[in-house]
Symmetry: C2
Subunit: 682 residues, 2 copies
């Protein structure tokens, strides 16, 4: 957690391995299996040329070494919250990723912080020898570099290998030994007598298993990046505060394995016991790994800095992802939310002007807002600038997301404050909240008399263009910001939250004003309902007729905060809520927003559906709006799980799907919106 | 020099770019050219999909941006010692690599050392606008990462871009500006208004050139790797002693450009004036770049450590390359030779036993020798071990090279001492030389009575196997060590040198003994001559009938030292020299050791000829043995140059060629043996 490191494998016949700061699975070979008594190497299909056939075949290793190989068949996989178990005949490989709360680094003890930051993944391989000859069980990684033996770096019970002092693995299992060679075929059919052949890009662990025996190698995989890890603003990984090098990480990981495994058990049981179907549990388990693989817990010299990288794109703290991952972070690591919010205020906020798209040259007061992201691939952007946003584009990908990011700060702050009662935060950022309120209003209309609660004015940062929402790769139904009912919903939710926060702060006038703004927004959105269409069109201008599920998305915020009146059909925004129910019922019942396989289609006019937002909107539909889907629930969950398992099989957990195939936003952290399912009452 | 960094480009339609610690050209796109008045981007063919057609075509950039592009035709290239000039209609790109002597870091001033270690390559692009509309000249690099603007890191006259604080480029040319975008097509047909679009993997410089104008952008390319750069033994790049980061390197590079350019002029003129044909000059210029691209000048905390990496294989200080690059290093940087020799003694020497291959179990005293290399890909091997050598192999690739590396230490030390008169070195290592002598003799035969001067006993490190020579990928004609006349020649040369060094040291008995050993070797090799064959067969056992050019290779060492009597037909080894002349004349005259195209074939029985060894043996044949080749000289040189230019066009300068096509030992430093051609008297 926080190491921006991954050990990815599992797809049959695909590359995988350990890597740092990657935008995809490491393209190496994971070789796990055993050399049987007939000198055939039996391997799980976790490497690039693992063919489907179960036939034993002769394989050529590097430099002409040949040997027999068989790809094991009948592979089973159990994918629990913290245990990933891949098993074939005679061999079981387990990967343990014990997700747990990272303690607040400002208050936790060094012992707690070392444990939480330790950049390791635990694994084990169990070999069961049912033959009458000894077998040699192996675990090996092939990489695009070279290895060194752990040698005498660690205590003498440990063997293992490291590459570039950055990735490595070790075991203290008795009887295990370490080797390096070109590849497993060369190693298992070694013509020479030097186990650690340092020229080879493959390193492995090996253990002999006698007939009738079952043996387990317990493996710790470690990562390390020393020194400054980011550019323009120099920061190191937080774990470097507690560990000085990779061998120390491996040694610590091995020594504390039992503590890690207790957490594995706890987390596995927790999800298993949840009142969810297996597909839902799979999606939560999958999303959790992909989130943590993208996280970067940094140290700037005086304090922790939390960064979530944007999956394959590696943009840093993309704010429209932060707001979606908020629920997950609040459950496990609330301090990271405050951390992100403070970073946005301190360095990635700005003040702009706004304009009416009909008259781009006349600028009006805008206000504070926040950048789309903080940089890309460890390159921090200059203050006040994202890596993503450029000027001069009219509602096209890479335009500014100024209004949406403004709502995102308010929504995150509101949820953070509701969960934590962090009075210090509220005191420090009260003025920011007021500025956000004014800025939101100006993006509706700088003229108070002309406001209707949702966005109509564009940021001057677009230089005469038009803003977009997070849904940048969809059509205008979700991609255009102004007059959009998705973003309108987030403005409404922001006003609802501001009303509450201002009231808590004794700012009664502002609270009333925020309430009025929320009402205005709700009324406008309600009035947008089109009887003929049977739903609220996505964009309240120019005859748009797209139907979108995320019209309901923003109800999540007041709901999780406990502002239940706001989402009550009989509450102050009752008409709005009732209208959203009608809207949602229609777009589902008519299957406008469903795929053939029962999966959710966010927009009727775009074949591009995002798993993170589906998870969020499912929560809202069920938990806030009270929908029940009967058999269609499992059908949808099965479809979504299949999208990930098959449509994204080479990219771990992905977000964007075109008809069930992942395209874009691969290897992505955002899908943890589905953590909300664990909070559902029904 | 010493930065293990490269900027490689030139092959048409191939990838290229800047990179650190690479085993091949960086796989990016180099975009150099101009946007003409009709918005067509005219580019030199230095990027991956540069097609041969000169037709203007529409090209799609990332994210749907389209523009017109034309690949410039009629490209010319001048490839001088320090200037590489690639020109097409309207644009000339020059890369400057000012090779010069690196001063001895123990005695030079910080100013000299900063200049010598500064990790920059200079370049310039000249645009000539012969049209009647303004054009926009560009230089851009596309990489697999992201860029930051130099911004205000340097003085305000400088613009440029950096990635990961590791590679970057900058200019202070007036009127130049910097941009970032997905690719040049997107940048030149920008739909947005943000020149520095930080999400893009391409950064460029741009300058406007008005009709009739000619303008040059002067560009400095800089490299930097901070902190520890090597593993197992932590060392940093030497330049980090003088520069703290990349922007400082770029600024210094720009400020000292004139000084660099003076050296460029000097070096270009020096080679141009040499009494060599153009093909030979090309080969020297090409080899020089490839050597320096492989060099690593490190700092271990108290002293400089010189490493030459083995081209694509990145093995560190492979000793059988060191001995070939010796002549180049002695000419430019003699301190690096002492540095390497000391590293081998201090950490990569060992003592073994030897055995008769007929009785592998009986071990006899061996003696000191040295490992094949010191590690691979920045991973230092454990003391006394190479990354390459493994036990248990009988004269196969990756076996030990113990006897050959022993000769290599003696030969390097002898040449170093002869050129430098470094009395301190001789005093310190006199005992090592004596040990080397005894060790050489034991590899002949531990029983003095049975010695015949050449190797017959194998190292115990082979564990019953058999040693190989540097020619590891050839057949036994050159690959087998024992009884090999190539290695026999190196043993003879070692004894000749030891005789001289012992004499200088007043060790007369040892000197006489060494002389006797040399005589024994010369006699054995002479006696190996087979009248029927017309040459000395490559291996003096088991009826071998291969003819090899490198029988003459080792004459180079006594010759360059000035031990001219040793290589004189009328000298103490006159019969040996005369026999080698007969041998060589035969294998050339019969074309046994020539390819169809006139290129040299090192062994009659292997289609695998090494450019480094060809260059060395050409020197010996001409300068030591007095051969003249008439028209065949240019024919051979033309063939060899074509092998590099066409047969190795994607791999810069390579060593191993199979019928003119580079296969293995690509991107290699060793070809600088051809520096010896500059010393030829005729």
């Amino acid at each position: 957690m926080g190491a921006l490191a991954s050990f990815t494998c599992g797809a049959h016949g695909a590359k995988g391995g350990m890597g740092l700061e990657l935008s995809a699975a490491y393209p190496g070979d994971v070789s796990i299996g055993y050399l049987d008594g007939e000198n055939t190497l039996n391997l799980l299909p976790l490497f690039g040329d693992a063919q489907g056939s179960e036939a034993e075949r002769y394989v050529e290793g590097a430099e002409g070494t040949t040997g027999k190989m068989r790809v094991l068949q009948d592979i089973k996989r159990e994918y629990l919250w913290a245990t990933d178990r891949i098993s074939g005949p005679g061999v079981t490989f387990e990967i343990f990723t014990p997700t747990f709360s990272i303690p607040n680094p400002e208050t936790a003890t060094p012992t707690e912080l070392a444990f939480a930051s330790c950049p390791v993944v635990h694994a084990s391989v169990t070999f069961k020898n049912t033959t009458d000859a000894p077998i040699r069980g192996i675990f090996a990684l092939g990489i695009d570099h070279r290895w060194s033996s752990l040698g005498d770096r660690t205590n003498e019970t440990i063997v293992g290998a490291m590459s570039q002092d950055q990735v490595g693995f070790a075991t203290d299992t008795e009887g295990a030994s370490c080797w390096m060679d070109f590849d497993p075929i060369s190693a298992m059919n070694r013509k020479h007598s030097t186990p650690e052949f340092l020229l080879g890009p493959t390193a492995g662990l090996e253990i002999e298993v006698l007939p009738g025996e079952e043996k387990t190698i317990e493996i710790t995989l470690g990562f390390f990046k020393a020194g400054s890890a980011t550019y323009n603003r120099s920061m190191s990984y937080y774990y470097t505060q507690h560990f000085t090098n990779l061998s120390q990480v491996l040694e610590y990981g091995i020594a504390s394995r039992e503590d890690f495994m207790e957490l594995v058990q706890f987390r596995d049981k927790e999800l298993a016991a949840a009142n969810l179907n297996d597909e839902q549990k799979f999606l939560i388990a999958h999303a959790t790994r992909s989130y943590y693989g993208s996280t970067q817990w940094l140290w700037d010299g005086t304090k922790s800095v939390w960064v979530v990288n944007e999956g394959e794109y590696l943009m840093m703290n993309t704010f429209d992802l932060t707001v979606d991952m908020l629920f997950f972070e609040m459950r496990f690591n609330p301090w990271t939310v405050r951390n992100e919010l403070e970073q946005f205020v301190d360095r990635y906020s700005f003040y702009d002007k706004v304009f009416d798209p009909k008259d781009p040259d006349t600028l009006y007061p805008g206000g504070i807002s926040f950048t789309h992201d903080m940089g890309v691939m460890n390159h921090w952007s200059p203050a006040g600038r994202s890596s993503y946003e450029v000027g001069g584009l009219d509602r096209a990908c890479f335009s500014h997301m100024t209004c949406e990011q403004l709502t995102n700060w308010v929504l995150c702050a509101g949820v953070y404050l509701a969960y934590t009662n962090d009075e210090d935060f509220l005191r420090r950022y009260r003025q920011t909240l007021i500025e956000c309120f004014r800025s939101l209003q100006n993006r509706d209309n700088p003229d108070p008399a002309k406001r209707d609660g949702i966005m109509s004015f564009e940021s001057s940062r677009t230089e005469g263009g038009g803003e977009i929402t997070t849904y940048d790769s969809l059509d205008h139904s979700l991609g255009q910001s102004r007059r959009n009912i998705y973003l309108g919903g987030k403005m409404w939710a922001s006003y609802v939250i501001l009303e509450d926060l201002f009231q808590q702060s004794g700012l009664d006038d502002l609270s009333s004003e925020a309430q009025a703004a929320a009402k205005l927004a709700a009324d406008t959105l309600t009035a947008g309902y089109d009887d003929t269409l049977g739903f609220i069109p996505a964009v309240l201008e120019e005859g748009n007729e797209s139907a979108i599920i995320p019209a309901i998305e923003a109800l999540a915020y007041p709901h999780v905060i406990g502002l239940t009146a706001a989402t009550d059909s009989d509450g102050p925004y009752g008409e709005y809520i009732k209208t959203l129910k009608k809207h949602f019922k229609h777009v589902i019942d008519t299957r406008m927003c469903l795929y053939e396989d029962g999966g959710w289609k966010l927009s009727s006019s775009a074949d591009n559906s995002w798993m993170s937002k589906i998870g969020l909107c499912q929560f809202v539909a069920r938990e806030v709006l009270g929908f029940e889907f009967g058999e269609d629930q499992l059908k949808a969950d099965t479809a979504h799980a299949r999208w990930e398992r098959e449509g994204s099989k080479l990219s771990a957990c992905s977000d964007q799907f075109h008809s069930g195939i992942a395209k874009g936003s691969l290897y992505y952290p955002r899908i943890v919106t589905n953590i909300l399912w664990l909070d559902e009452q029904k």
